[in-house]
Symmetry: none
Subunit: 521 residues, 2 copies
Amino acid sequence: MTNKLIIYDSTLRDGAQALGISFTVEDKLKIVNKLDNLGVDYIEAGNPGSNPKDLEFFERVLKLKLASSKIIAFGATRRANVSVEEDANIQSLLKAGTEAIAVFGKSWDFQVTDIIKTTLEENLRMIYDTIKYFKNHGKIVVYDAEHFFDGYNANPEYAMETLKVANRAGADTICLCDTKGAGLPSHIARITGLVRDEVDCAIGIHCHNDNGMAVAGSIAAVEAGAVQIQGTINGFGERCGNANLCTIIPNLQLMMNYECIPAANMEKLTPTARYVSEVANIIHDERAPFVGNCAFAHKAGMHADAVNKNTSAYEMIHPEVVGNQRNILMSEVAGRSAVMSIINMVDNTLTKDSPETKKIIERLKELEYEGYQYEGAESSFELVIRKMLGKYKTFFELKEFKVIVNEPTVNSVNSSAMIKILVDGQTEITAAEGDGPVNALDKALRKALERFYPRIAEMKLTDYKVRVLDSNFATASKVRVLIETTDGQDAWTTVGVSTDIIEASWRALVDSVEHKLMKEN
Amino acid sequence: MTNKLIIYDSTLRDGAQALGISFTVEDKLKIVNKLDNLGVDYIEAGNPGSNPKDLEFFERVLKLKLASSKIIAFGATRRANVSVEEDANIQSLLKAGTEAIAVFGKSWDFQVTDIIKTTLEENLRMIYDTIKYFKNHGKIVVYDAEHFFDGYNANPEYAMETLKVANRAGADTICLCDTKGAGLPSHIARITGLVRDEVDCAIGIHCHNDNGMAVAGSIAAVEAGAVQIQGTINGFGERCGNANLCTIIPNLQLMMNYECIPAANMEKLTPTARYVSEVANIIHDERAPFVGNCAFAHKAGMHADAVNKNTSAYEMIHPEVVGNQRNILMSEVAGRSAVMSIINMVDNTLTKDSPETKKIIERLKELEYEGYQYEGAESSFELVIRKMLGKYKTFFELKEFKVIVNEPTVNSVNSSAMIKILVDGQTEITAAEGDGPVNALDKALRKALERFYPRIAEMKLTDYKVRVLDSNFATASKVRVLIETTDGQDAWTTVGVSTDIIEASWRALVDSVEHKLMKEN
């Protein structure tokens, strides 16, 4: 008898419906790899019929070799009075080529008659036909019973009938959705128990957090017999978000003895949560259970003392178990083993106990305290290590730069940068115009360097991200700039931090250029 | 038979133990007034024995004329082997002069023997003596059974005995504390039910959010018979916070038919939550249930359409009930109905078929093609509509700005901005220095405007986000800047797009300032 539960991640689909989140295809592919690495069972990745961006994504994602996760495409039941063969969305779902498909349909009579405006009978046929069609094509089918709990409250017979139809059509899992996020956990548990007596397939749960109880609702459903939990990393999602898998997984696995992900992967939870926040460009919630910086921070004198006497006095679990740390303001989520692997890239004779390693870790803590974060910007961290270990050659020295921005523009150019650098005793002074100050500075620096290092011309900046670190001071707060660069062969990411966006961009630019020069020399 | 529950706010005591929160005496007095205005029953306001700041506070707070709330002082049971008369903290609690006192004591045998290092018998006497003493002095006494649920798991007989002792000593309420925040709601409900059978006074519940279920745990306790709920505004508190009263109150009162606060005060919930965030200088959580900006925001086309057909399709309650408002988000998937609701905010005579509507939608498409995205930045979109419909007054005109960034810095300032604006025929030219060009420009603009519009000084920028739109051109690609602003009362978000980050920031800044000016004039 196993306690294995099925973790179904919808960060890339329902999560992407959150305010302020918009993933590129590249972002989605990176997150798929992280989720696979964490060991979730399903990755719900979008609706292939909705737009060309999603179609491209499905073509590319199915070429990835995933170790643990199945990609699942998501779409509605067929439209009313249209056959599955003629329904373009159904055909797109099939064409996406995934092994598994999630079909959502209506379980609330009001939604059938008043929102999609069809008959209750036709809605049952829509559910049956769609599931049956995909089962005939050999797919694993998850049926998402949208608004199930509201539907059950309004018309329990009809709501239950939609599930029985899905069950008869061969759905592998029937997922009960609390779409409005109003479900009281005790109510969810009771209804889930009733459903368990009516259908003979697996039961899933999909909660939203409008009442602040999505995690509790999901867990109540598991207590009542649900075996698949749908949610998102960091609880990203519409309105108040979806059930937060970063809270649900450790609760179920560490406190309640279920198996959600492989035990060895549990320490990847905090790094994964942070990574997804970073890619989504959403400030990570530091008060989040398990994966926030505050989760194991102790302030009250009495509590801090008690924790020093015995950590179980005020902590549910050891923070290391979920890849987090006790009592730290700045994160060091990479973990010492990740840090060692970069140190060993530069010098493979160093061990955890080498004095150099200790110095590097001290320096890392200082830099993280300043706002640097090297997760995803290992090239910058490698440069820090090289400089500390004397394994770095100086390629150029900045003497001065000046950037000027004009409004209104002068001859439609608004920014110009002057730069003066020193290379092997020779001074180069040059200038460039650009669209904005960072672009002008980037062009001026590369122009100055090309005379000495012609392969700089191969570099192309592919992404530029800015994150404000302390929002209480808004435009005067620290910013962290991440720059992604490629030279056609490799891609690398560098980071810069400053209260000034130009200075932060400059630092990331310099690291990017230095990485390229180091690589070629 | 009344369903009245007792709301016990601990924002000023347990909430103040959160990382990054430190209230002055003035802050605390302001928050007391807001909480009284909201109508909570108890305001736990600190430990008068802990420091002189708290002593001063108690002197001043008892002079306030409160309409609904009782101030309650908080402190430990007497120390081991010291009489209540000789215990300085007990005497400070008495001297504070409040009508009600919360006494916390140990219910977990491990905490007694290993943390405070006394005998189990002496701990029972400490509880009894302290409560009895305050009852003899005519106080209302709430007994906080710290770590009760962990204690019950470890040694149910002893944990229950501590409560029986408190009951015998005359405690008016016995509050069960889930101090570590690990309590599973179903477990809390079961144990609360057992306690209800053992004591004959009122039962309270005090949850922490380390497992992400503090709200659900509190509500589960109420379902099992608890009548007093302890929590904090916005869930502020140590580690992952306390049970969030802004989530609990509407759940209990609007969804479950209990009475927590006077019905007429419910609409003060969102303003109170924002006010407390503001005073605590913590960024308000916009994803928070009921009181966040996202709580009633709709992005996906289908959902936005459904909400326009009938708000109950995707909303638990009407946002106005809790003093919040609906946000319909623009996005590639949002339908025309989302746009209509903003158009109708400006002019409610326009319909889908009005020629003005068609022009606005054309303009929206152009702007979206340029890279604007109004999802989450409705204030900017409202300005576009107002300008198109002639419902906008020009507050100022930009004549010129120039921003200069220097490296190395000059007297440790790296950026300066000169600005010239025209207001009602008068020219104002001024300059400011800043940390980075955007900060310098922001300061210069507001400095120039303050002479004409003094209320500009109330504005505070709370977030600044940058997104690159077309990564293939990196630093020369278009950037979208989102700026969040608050004036203490409201929060709004504006957007600017340009290939130049300064220009994009400028546009978002101008919209933010115009929104504020429009609001005040």
